[in-house]
């Protein structure tokens, strides 16, 4: 607009010269900016050479081997030592893995990038934008994993229910955890689940986890006798941790009585074998004492209760 106003007052030649000068300045600025960016990129990226690529590969291989060795060592050691120390030793795995990965990434960045103060800021910004769009979920999981290391909603060796899955945490990775389910499947669950979903942890770093075994009997069954049998069954199971509380609770339903035996196995890993052992022994005793089972089983009520 300003040029147009001046153009009415000044001679045409001068205007043409002015326009020429202005265009040439813009071109120079653009080329200057492009040149600056190119220089910055050059500064940021150091020279990529064959030896550097080899070095990077070597770093990656060594990091991979260290992680595998640490995994093997921690698992082997934790399974050999006394059970009390099993879970403690397993906690080293995620910390060591994260440390090795962090060091590897820093070494690789140091190899290929000139990490001056300005460059670090530039890279951080770039990565932030890239991650914000392309790797949002991945970044979220990694951050959740780091937070999880300190908040400990689950640890290696814990028995947890998360994302409709239940099992023992056998590995704590950068992005997620691996669960071994009772049917021996390995399920990978990203750490980001902890942001919005509940995590139910049965033993939170302890060796023992409570096992609840349910028994269904008819109304005619003598509750005192049933409770007495269930206590005796728990006391005589090879799996029971006798120093932890054993409790029988009962509730009444239209179809009969539901008894729950709450007790702890010596090792949380034995929970299913333990529940089976308790059930078999209890059923033998119920049969010996002719205790009646419910004749009609109201599924709707049982699920709602």
């Amino acid at each position: 607009m300003e040029i147009r106003e001046y153009s009415t007052a000044l001679p045409t030649v001068w205007l043409a010269r002015l326009a020429q000068t202005s265009a040439s300045d813009t071109t120079q600025e653009a080329s200057q900016a492009a040149s600056d960016t190119a220089n910055e990129s050059k500064e940021l990226l150091s020279k990529i050479t064959g030896p550097k690529i080899l070095q990077a590969l070597l770093i990656l291989v060594v990091a991979y081997l260290i992680i595998k060795a640490v995994d093997w060592l921690v698992i082997a050691l934790s399974e050999r030592v006394a059970r009390y120390n099993r879970l403690r030793i397993k906690q080293f795995q995620p910390f060591i893995r994260t440390s090795v990965m962090t060091v590897t990434v820093i070494m690789l960045m140091n190899l290929f990038l000139n990490l001056s103060r300005e460059n670090v800021l530039a890279i951080t910004g770039t990565i932030a934008v890239a991650l914000g769009f392309a790797f949002k979920d991945y970044a979220s999981s990694i951050i959740a994993g780091i937070v999880g290391l300190f908040e400990s909603p689950y640890r290696v060796g814990d028995r947890i229910a998360i994302a409709d899955e239940y099992g023992e945490v056998i590995s704590y990775g950068l992005r997620g955890i691996r669960l071994r389910t009772p049917s021996d499947n390995v399920v990978t669950v990203p750490h980001s689940h902890i942001w919005t979903n509940t995590v139910s942890n049965a033993n939170t770093g302890e060796l023992e986890a409570q096992v609840v075994t349910e028994f269904y009997l008819a109304h005619e069954a003598d509750p005192e006798q049933v409770a007495s049998i269930l206590y005796r069954v728990a006391h005589t199971s090879k799996y029971t941790h006798l120093k932890l509380p054993i409790l029988v609770v009962m509730s009444e339903h239209s179809w009969g009585s539901l008894f729950k035996l709450r007790s702890y196995p010596l090792d949380a890993r034995d929970e299913f074998a333990y529940a089976t052992d308790l059930t078999i022994r209890a059923k033998k005793e119920f049969a010996r004492h002719n205790l009646p089972y419910p004749k009609r089983f109201d599924l709707e009520e049982s699920t709602s209760s």
Binding site: R232, Y239, H241, L242, L266, D267
Partner: protein, 479 residues
């Protein structure tokens, strides 16, 4: 009544208490090739076993039992209503609680001032059917079914249950007998109950039935010291003139077969490491003593005696002061050494090891002389030398093995069917597992009866304690 206790005692010695397990007990467990028992002439080996089996109950253990019984009975006799009418004697599951207890009772019976009628539950194993325990206890102890509370006019009686572990089986029905005993104990104060039990079984009964709430004094047998073991084993040492010199103790270290050691280290690294650490610790100990002897000569005893005391102290340490374990490790540490004696000079030389001056003090025993082997000028003689006593390393055990071994310690001993009942598995599965554990020497079987191998007991005890089983404290730290 003295006859009853004496008969029961003799029966226990004959039938149930066999100490030298490696060939008296389980034919599968044979001694290692270099051990004395495998090399001794059979008559000498028999004599060694006979002597070991004839050893009396350790005097210190007997004294503790005797004194505790006397004190508790005297208190109860004076004030039967105000004082507890029971005492519990706890021993290790591999020791024979019944034998130690009956030995103490026999002493009490010999004291005419203490004379009281005794009712003895003279079982040497648990009834095959655990549901009849209650009935059998009633019959054997002569307790009427309608036994009521407090009968003031009753004659004072000693009720003896030598091994409480034979009165229960860890199964739904197997604890009924103890329920009955638990009710019976406080019922009548004219009865004084003397109960023997293993420490593992007792911990279980404490947790499940709170049995301790019904009992009076609870006495645990003491851990034996090196001196206790030395005096207890002296009949064998003297009879065979066993040599305890430093050189003999470290014979294996000096003459170690490097290729055999290397093979062992590759095949069984844990065992090799354990062997090595035990050798090194014993060597360091004797070296420290040697330096001390040189620096303070007046404080030092003669070399043979201090070596012997070192040996027995070490034996007490590795056996956790348990007499049966110590006896087995003692016999296991003996080596049979051949010597040739020049008849003209009377000078003897050993064919097996280097000797220092102290070992020359070990005179070859005439009792182990093999008279039928002679050369023209030389006579072959043999002697027994004691090498470093070592505990065999515990083999690698699975979780399932630990459950089985805990069950054995809990009940002291079991048959296959009882073990299956106690573990809630089928006898076939248990039998497979038992055979595997027998092959690695962790358990022993004679006839139908299965027990843990006493030599592995100290380590097994700790292993179970570390793995959450209800064993109060690892042995050696509590006693």
């Amino acid at each position: 009544m003295a006859d009853l206790v004496q008969q029961f005692r003799q029966w226990l010695i004959k039938k149930r208490f066999f100490r030298v397990a490696w060939f008296a007990k389980d034919p599968q467990l044979s001694p290692e090739p270099d051990e004395a028992l495998s090399q001794l002439p059979s008559e000498l080996a028999d004599k060694l076993i006979e002597l070991a089996n004839q050893l009396p109950v350790n005097p210190r253990e007997e004294a503790v039992v005797l004194q505790s019984l006397k004190d508790a009975i005297a208190r109860w006799k004076d004030l039967p209503r105000e004082t507890p009418n029971s005492i519990v004697i706890l021993s290790d599951p591999i020791s024979s609680a019944a034998r130690i207890l009956t030995s103490g009772l026999y002493q009490i019976e010999a004291d005419k001032n203490q004379l009281l009628p005794i009712k003895l539950l003279d079982w040497v194993q648990r009834p095959a059917d655990p549901s009849v325990i209650k009935q059998q206890v009633q019959e054997q102890l002569g307790i009427a079914k309608s036994d009521t509370f407090e009968e003031d006019n009753c004659e004072q009686t000693l009720m003896v249950i030598p091994n409480l572990c034979w009165c229960f089986l860890r199964s739904a029905e197997g604890l009924d007998g103890l329920d009955y005993l638990q009710d019976l104990l406080p019922r009548n104060h004219s009865r004084f109950w003397i109960l023997g039990s293993s420490i593992v079984g007792w911990e279980y009964l404490k947790c499940t039935l709170q049995f301790h709430a019904y009992c009076g004094d609870i006495i645990t047998l003491p851990a034996l010291s090196g001196e206790d073991l030395q005096s207890w084993l002296s009949p064998i040492v003297e009879q065979f003139n066993i040599c305890f010199s430093d050189a003999a103790l470290h014979k294996r270290l000096q003459n170690s077969d490097s290729s055999a050691n290397l093979d062992m280290a590759i095949d069984r690294p844990i065992e090799a490491l354990s062997e090595m650490s035990q050798e090194v610790s014993a060597t360091v100990q004797s070296s420290v003593r040697a330096v001390k002897d040189r620096l303070i000569p007046e404080a030092s005893d003669d070399s043979e005696n201090s070596s012997k005391l070192d040996y027995f102290n070490r034996l007490a340490t590795i056996s956790d002061g348990v007499s049966v374990v110590a006896l087995q490790l003692f016999v296991k540490s003996l080596r049979y050494q051949e010597m040739s004696v020049d008849e003209s000079s009377g000078h003897s030389t050993s064919s097996l090891a280097d000797h220092d001056g102290s070992e020359e003090n070990c005179v070859s025993s005439e009792s182990v002389e093999k008279s039928d082997v002679k050369t023209s000028s030389n006579k072959q003689q043999y002697r027994l030398v004691a090498t470093i006593p070592k505990r065999p390393p515990l083999p690698e055990l699975s979780q399932s093995d630990l459950y089985l071994l805990y069950s054995l310690l809990l009940h002291s001993d079991l048959t296959i069917s009882e073990l299956a009942e106690s573990l809630g598995d089928t006898p076939q599965i248990i039998n497979h597992q038992v055979q595997i554990l027998r092959n690695v020497g962790v358990i022993e079987q004679q006839g139908q009866v299965i027990k843990t191998n006493p030599m592995h007991y100290p380590e097994l005890y700790r292993e179970l304690a570390r793995n959450n089983f209800i064993i109060e404290v690892p042995r050696g730290s509590s006693r």
